[in-house]
Amino acid sequence: MYPLIRDIHAYLGVALAALLAIYTWTGFEIVHGGGKRPREIARSEPSVTPVGGANDAIARVEAAARAAAEQAGLAGGAVVRARFEKGAWRARVERVSQYAEVTLTPGSSSAEVRLWRYPARGGVTQLHHVSLTDARGARFAWAIAIDVLSVALIAFALTGVLLFLALKRERRLGWALLAASTLYTLGSIAHLVTGAP
């Protein structure tokens, strides 16, 4: 049993090391890095198939927004959200390192597109924010990888505990550390749930 658990822990670890490294670094950057703001790199008014007003089908609007973004230089982006606001459709078509803000006026055969790009470190940090809720195509594959990483993290912890239990040497320090951190974490959760000081 011990060799099996050790192999699971080891293979999960090496298989996900690269992804975990990305998320560790980008997480650290998000918390400590102060944010890397994007800068606008281009504006254009590409031709589009006119869209309707507030009642137009979202799929049509998203297709028009995606086509406009592609003409503006952003290929293969995933539309994150389109909303009707102040008399026009406003959509954001995203890749990780850059995105396009698209404005579609009902009945107009051209769109307003503003293209934004993150600096290199900022772009990598944006990988941290890709989630299943907005994901299509390649972003969906990345978001699924995050689910796999999340489950693997739990598996690391559990297999790590089993490996610890299999140790034949003195384990009191380990138990003390595990108990202290577990009590602290559960206490933190209780603090937030109850609102008690």
Partner: protein, 188 residues
């Protein structure tokens, strides 16, 4: 050296284990945008509200007098014509909107965003040093994130030391790293 590093890998692992599990669960909640059930409560109390000083400082004094804890942003503080204040108090998974008039009569609308939001909020929670707990969780986060980096390095090194399994282990890691890099480049 090997024994020392294995022990450190082990003990750091045990210290950060609850954080790792919490991180895994909270990542799933974030990835699937799972939210908690929101509940609100409105209550009123009379407190000694200061009339002098900067608005934010006055808001913080009222917050403390009401027994609330959390962050008060300067941008969230509004002054009323009668000298009262309206402000928000922000804490993980909780928000409170406070309206206090010049006589010190305060009306508090507290919202709790549910258990799922608590778990989501703990994901990398950092920088809110308005409470001793907040500061300690900040340190625990930094320790655990540092531990992740340590696990990756020592884990790969430990894989290298397993002579009989070195090739399949490191081969798996290399292949996975290439796939990860290719996927990141694809969505870049």
């Amino acid at each position: 050296m090997r024994r020392w590093l294995v022990d450190l890998h082990l003990y750091l692992g045990l210290i950060s284990l609850p954080y790792v599990v919490l991180f895994g669960v909270s990542s799933i909640l974030w990835n699937h945008d799972v939210r908690g059930t929101r509940t609100s409560e409105v209550w009123e109390r009379v407190v000694a509200a200061p009339h002098d000083g900067k608005p934010r400082d006055r808001a913080v004094a009222v917050r403390d007098a009401l027994g609330l804890h959390g962050l008060v942003h300067e941008r969230d503080v509004r002054q009323a014509p009668d000298g009262g204040l309206r402000f928000r108090v922000i804490y993980p998974a909780r928000r409170a909107t406070v309206e206090v008039d010049a006589t010190g009569h305060a009306r508090v609308n507290e919202t709790y965003y549910g258990f799922a939001e608590v778990i989501r909020a703990l994901h990398g929670f950092h920088g809110w040093d308005v409470s001793a707990w907040g500061y300690s969780w900040m340190l625990f986060t930094d320790l655990s994130v540092g531990a992740f980096a340590f696990f990756i390095v020592t884990g790969v090194w430990l894989a290298w030391l397993r002579v009989n399994a070195r090739a399949p282990l490191l081969g798996t890691g290399a292949l996975a790293a290439v796939v990860t890099g290719a996927l990141a480049a694809w969505i870049w």
